[in-house]
């Protein structure tokens, strides 16, 4: 406390020794308005501050843009897990029916499930000899067969096209194309 008092007295003495100069008219007003402006700038939102910094640090902006320009395409082309987007393909819901009275299980196997016998089990329509399943497929041609009781490969007699596979056995073909798309000149 004593120290502060000494300090104040010293300041008073020093200030008293200064020559008094009359300030120009409105100086105090201008000083207050400037302080207010700076306070407003400090209280302005994050966005304006952000742009203010960007204006001051042009190098940072250039660096970020250059990095994005290089990194985004590189990441895009090098990422293998990106799903290949096939544009313009229509989707069809297809119901497969197979008639077999004595079967214990019927599976649908083909190009659409990479010939995996674990994926599509057909369900028996109760009280009938018919087995049925419904799947969603994109536009295209698909080769398929029914696997009866895990042992017997059976073609679909309802399929409009039956072909021989490359190993001498028969398979059915389903074609999903838009019949309306026709005669478009090249």
């Amino acid at each position: 406390m004593k120290k502060l008092q000494f300090h104040d007295d010293f300041l008073k003495k020093q200030l008293g020794s200064f020559k008094r100069i009359k300030t120009p008219e409105g100086t105090v007003k201008r000083l207050y308005s400037r302080i207010k402006e700076e306070e407003d700038a400090q209280h302005a939102g994050f966005v304006s501050n952000f742009f203010h910094i960007l204006r001051l640090r042009r190098e940072i902006v250039i660096a970020v843009l250059a990095t994005l320009l290089l990194a985004v395409p590189l990441t895009f082309f090098s990422t293998k897990s990106l799903i290949a987007m096939k544009t313009g393909q229509k989707v069809y819901v297809v119901r497969f029916i197979h008639e077999n009275e004595s079967a214990q299980s019927v599976k649908l196997i083909g190009d659409f499930n990479n010939w995996n016998s674990d994926e599509i089990d057909m369900q028996r329509i109760s009280g009938t000899p018919f087995w049925s399943t419904e799947i969603t497929l994109r536009e295209g041609l698909y080769k398929y067969v029914f696997l009866v009781d895990e042992a017997e490969w059976t073609i679909d007699p309802l399929a409009p096209i039956i072909v021989k596979d490359n190993f001498g056995q028969q398979s059915s073909i389903i074609v999903l194309l838009d019949d309306l798309e026709e005669n478009n000149n090249l």
Partner: protein, 303 residues
């Protein structure tokens, strides 16, 4: 921040991105190898398996496709040497720019059906050659419009299936030339191939089918007309008519412009019928390969 700092920052990012990608691809490799080892119930050489997977990923086979392929092979306990051979063939085909999906599916079909590896191996070269022909033909019909690659892939697969069903290269070339002469779209070609394959259900020879489709294209028939042919055959045979007679009558009407394009009308019962064909009683048309200015090369294999 000085320009040198910016340069260093960008350089570090450029190095890190491929590095992350490389690490991610190594993860892919591990995932596939681990999955395969879980499925195999026989002893396998892990290094050989890892090499096959790495080479396939480096060869551009998508992770999902490779995963499926290895999974099916492992489930069927196929030897790693056999699987490596298949993968090399697939990578080779891909390297030539030919869509590998058909070959991959054919091998998977063989594996699923329990076909011995020796037979699958033997069939691969002929599949590859046929695929090459089909892809070349499909690209001749391609345009540079949106979805072009999808159309080429689809057309390649349709051509391959048509050849599987017994049509020869000459048959395909005949229809391809007819379509190109009329400057009509790949979709038209695709639907024509579909019709050709569907007509095989009836007692017709390959050359007869080719002739019918070729002359219809030459006469400017719409694809909806051509698509009606199998329905005409099935509805007429249900009436007890002989397939050969139906064929001769249909061909005669088309050749003599008795059936103007767009003349097929849908019946109330759901079937299709030719307006002029219904009244036609004449038969004895020249048939395939004879008596017409537009002649088929008649290369189709008779049934």
């Amino acid at each position: 921040m000085r320009p040198i700092h910016i340069f260093i920052l960008i350089s570090v990012i450029i190095i890190l991105v491929p590095l992350f990608s490389y690490c991610a691809s190594n993860d892919d490799e591990d995932v596939i190898v681990k999955m395969a080892l879980e499925k195999y119930t026989i002893h396998v050489d892990i290094e050989q398996l890892r090499n096959a997977v790495t080479e396939s990923l480096d060869g551009g086979i998508p992770f999902e496709d490779l995963y499926t392929f290895i999974s099916s092979s492992a489930k069927a306990n196929r030897e790693i040497a056999e699987v490596s051979y298949y993968l090399n063939e697939i990578v080779d085909l891909r390297g030539k720019g030919i869509p590998e999906e058909v070959l991959m599916n054919s091998i998977l079909e063989g594996i699923a059906k329990g076909i011995p590896g020796k037979i699958i191996r033997e069939s691969i070269s002929s599949i590859g050659m046929r695929l090459g022909f089909c892809y070349h033909t499909a690209t001749n019909h391609s345009s540079r419009r949106r979805g072009h690659s999808n159309k080429v892939e689809l057309l390649t697969k349709a051509l391959f299936t048509a050849m599987d069903s017994g049509f020869s290269e000459n048959d395909i070339n005949t229809i391809s030339s007819a379509v190109q002469k009329q400057k009509i779209s790949p979709s038209f070609f695709l639907q024509s191939l579909r019709t050709m394959m569907e007509l095989q259900r009836f007692e017709l020879e390959y050359k007869e089918i080719i002739w019918l489709i070729e002359i219809s294209i030459d006469k400017g028939y719409r694809i909806s007309d051509i698509r009606a042919f199998p329905l005409i055959f099935s509805s007429e045979t249900r009436k007890g008519l002989n397939e050969e007679d139906i064929y001769i009558r249909l061909l005669h009407d088309i050749e003599n412009d008795m059936m103007p394009p767009g003349s097929f009308t849908r019946q109330a019962g759901g079937g299709w019928e030719s307006q002029s064909g219904r009244e036609s009683t004449r038969s004895g048309s020249s048939g395939p390969g004879g008596g017409s200015s537009s002649s088929s090369n008649g290369s189709g294999k008779g049934k």
